[in-house]
Symmetry: C2
Subunit: 201 residues, 2 copies
């Protein structure tokens, strides 16, 4: 029977079996290599499986779908950026005043989004991962707006600032309309100021 002492401590689902963990890692490495060498949309699930030395079924059991695999890859890249926001040097990280941080956030998020654009596209709305990514930025912007004593519906206002930084919107501006990146960045700063500026001033 199972240990009555451990039982109450089991918070989440049981841990992965060792071979499963090894395969997950191998698959992520293989996928990353293929993405780097062929570009996201030329990577097939079979190729990833073959390169990792496992069967195709295994890939889908671990990551649900192609989107899920891409989301997992994306997660890794996003994590290092999130760390820079949480605990990196100012003005992106803590230390600068909130308005400076907000403007730094916008510029940084803009370039990061474009850098990861292909992967973000390929990840689609994969499970709860993409939600997690959105959630982080939403929480951060909400926090900064709070520090700036912005009045209003903060979650909604945060969304208003984040929406123009989504891939399809940025691609429309940068690629289709061919606005220079600096113009888009400056435009976002202007938007941020308009949103933050108090009504009576």
């Amino acid at each position: 029977m199972s240990d009555p002492v451990l039982l109450p401590l089991l918070g989440g689902p049981p841990p992965e079996r060792r071979d499963a963990a090894r395969n997950r890692e191998a698959l992520l490495v293989a996928a990353q290599e293929l993405v780097d060498s062929c570009g996201v949309d030329h990577v097939t699930m079979e190729a990833v499986a073959a390169r990792a030395g496992v069967g195709k079924g295994t890939v889908f059991r671990r990551f649900e779908s192609r989107e899920g695999l891409m989301a997992a890859l994306l997660d890794r890249s996003e994590t290092v950026w999130q760390a820079a926001v949480i605990s990196g040097p100012p003005p992106l990280g803590p230390g600068a005043d909130p308005m400076e941080r907000l403007l730094a956030f916008g510029r940084s998020r803009l370039t990061t989004t474009m850098r990861h654009a292909e992967l973000i596209r390929a990840a689609g709305r994969a499970g709860s991962r993409s939600y997690a990514a959105w959630s982080f930025t939403a929480m951060h912007v909400r926090y900064l707006l709070g520090e700036l004593h912005v009045a209003g519906d903060l979650p909604i206002l945060a969304t208003a600032l984040l929406a123009p930084l989504e891939v399809p919107v940025l691609e429309q501006q940068l690629s289709v309309e061919a606005f220079p990146l600096e113009r888009v960045a400056a435009g976002w700063e202007d938007l941020a100021r308009r949103v933050v500026r108090p009504p009576g001033a």
Copy 2:
């Protein structure tokens, strides 16, 4: 030889052959019926072809891809909405003052987008069609901002107002975070006012 009088008038590409036009129409009708009865993502290209009584190759020749077909379908629905904006009754159509029109535009676009959400998703970035749809709303908002004497980079500000009305953003708020529709709509109005409000007042 070809008529020397007609030749200079040939602005665009030559017109479709009669059978081609008939098939295009039959395919659109078939696709619409299937979408209505099964839901967008259960419609297969073969099913559409079969229902229209043509071969699969024909569907792809006319519409390029699944996304292209969905975009064509979407186009029809969007057109009637666009007509309402251009020449319908105020406050959405012309006649009301610009700020009223802008607020009416936001609410109307919000509900229209959600009504067409599945189709918009399925249409993806299909050819120049999705660009045309974006282009219309962008132009309209730019025009209204001009009428309101808003100072700044109007194309960019228009984008800032349109981005929060895109499907993924709205779904995040309405479905994932479960904000009531009225809250999202009110939030957009607040955003519009902040963007329009002049700096010194």
